[in-house]
Amino acid sequence: MLHLSHADYAALRAHGEETYPHECCGVLLGKASPDGNRVRQIVRAGNTRTDSAHNRYNIAPEELIRTQRQARTLGLDIVGFYHSHPDCPAQWSQTDYNEAHWLGCSYVITRVDQGKAAITNSFLLTGTGEEDKAFRDEPIEIELDSTES
C-alpha cells in the first residue's frame, strides 16, 4: 500500500498535465512502514530526456543527490518516484522495468489523455537484485489532508 496525501496525489497528476505531451517525473519523499511507503512530500524533477520527452524520462543524478540531501535534512527517505505516460496506459512498460533499480520503492504512473490526467497507478519494485526484481501492483491510499477532513 502506498499512502499519499490528497494534495500530493493531485500535485503529481497536475504535473503530468503541465508537461503534456511530455512525460513529467519527480521523487516521493517519506518513510517506509510495515504497511507500505508513506509519502510526506513530493519533489518535482526535470526530465533530461529532451530528445524523446514524449515517451522517456530520466532524472539527472545530480538532481537526485540534491533531493536525497533534502530528504536527509527533513528526516525523510526517497521512497519512490512518479512519472506520466502521455496518451499511454498507466502501466509499467518494459523500459520502466529495465530502468528500475530502486528496490522497495514505489513507482507511480499517471496516464495523461490529451492533457488531462486519467488513471494513476502505483507499482512496488520487489526483489533482492537485478536478477529477480519485479513490479507488483500496489494499491494507493489517498489520505485527506487535515484541512479537507
Binding site: E23, C25, A32, R49, S52, N55, R56, Y57, N58, I59, P61, E62, L64, I65, Q68, R72, D77, I78, V79, F81, H83, H85, P86, C88, P89, W92, S93, Q94, T95, D96, E99, A100, H101, W102, L103, G104, C105, Y107, G129, E130
Partner: protein, 113 residues
C-alpha cells in the same frame, strides 16, 4: 569519510543511511565499504568487478566516472561519497520506438502507427 547509501541498499548496511569509512582514495573508501558490508558488492559491481552501469557514485558533486583520476582520486576526511542508482523509464518500449522510426522513414507523411 562519509558514504551516503540510497534507500534500496540500506538493507545491506544494517539500515544505516550514512557510513563512515577510512581511505585515502575513492577506490580505497569503496573497498572499505564493501569489506564492512560484503553483501553490497554484488549490488554495486558486476561479476567482473566493474561498477554497474546504473550505479552512480559521486564524490561531493562530481561523478567519479568523469574525474581525471577516477577511483584513484584522493579524498579527505570532509569529503562525501554518494551512491545513487539511476532513475529513468518511459511509456514505450524499444520495439515500439523501432516501429515508429521505421514508420517515420517509410510511411506517408502524417501517418501514425
Amino acid at each position: 569519510m562519509k558514504i551516503h547509501i540510497p534507500t534500496p541498499l540500506r538493507a545491506y548496511t544494517g539500515g544505516e543511511q550514512t557510513v563512515g569509512v577510512p581511505g585515502a582514495t575513492v577506490g580505497q573508501a569503496l573497498q572499505e565499504l564493501t569489506t564492512a558490508f560484503p553483501e553490497l558488492r554484488q549490488h554495486l559491481y558486476t561479476g567482473e568487478g566493474k561498477l554497474r552501469s546504473f550505479v552512480n557514485i559521486y564524490l561531493n558533486d562530481d561523478d567519479i566516472r568523469y574525474l581525471p583520476q577516477k577511483e584513484s582520486t584522493p579524498v579527505g576526511e570532509s569529503d562525501e561519497l554518494t551512491v545513487i542508482p539511476s532513475i529513468a523509464g518511459g511509456c514505450e518500449d524499444g520495439a515500439a520506438d523501432a516501429l515508429h522510426a521505421i514508420c517515420n522513414y517509410f510511411c506517408p507523411k502524417g501517418a501514425k502507427l
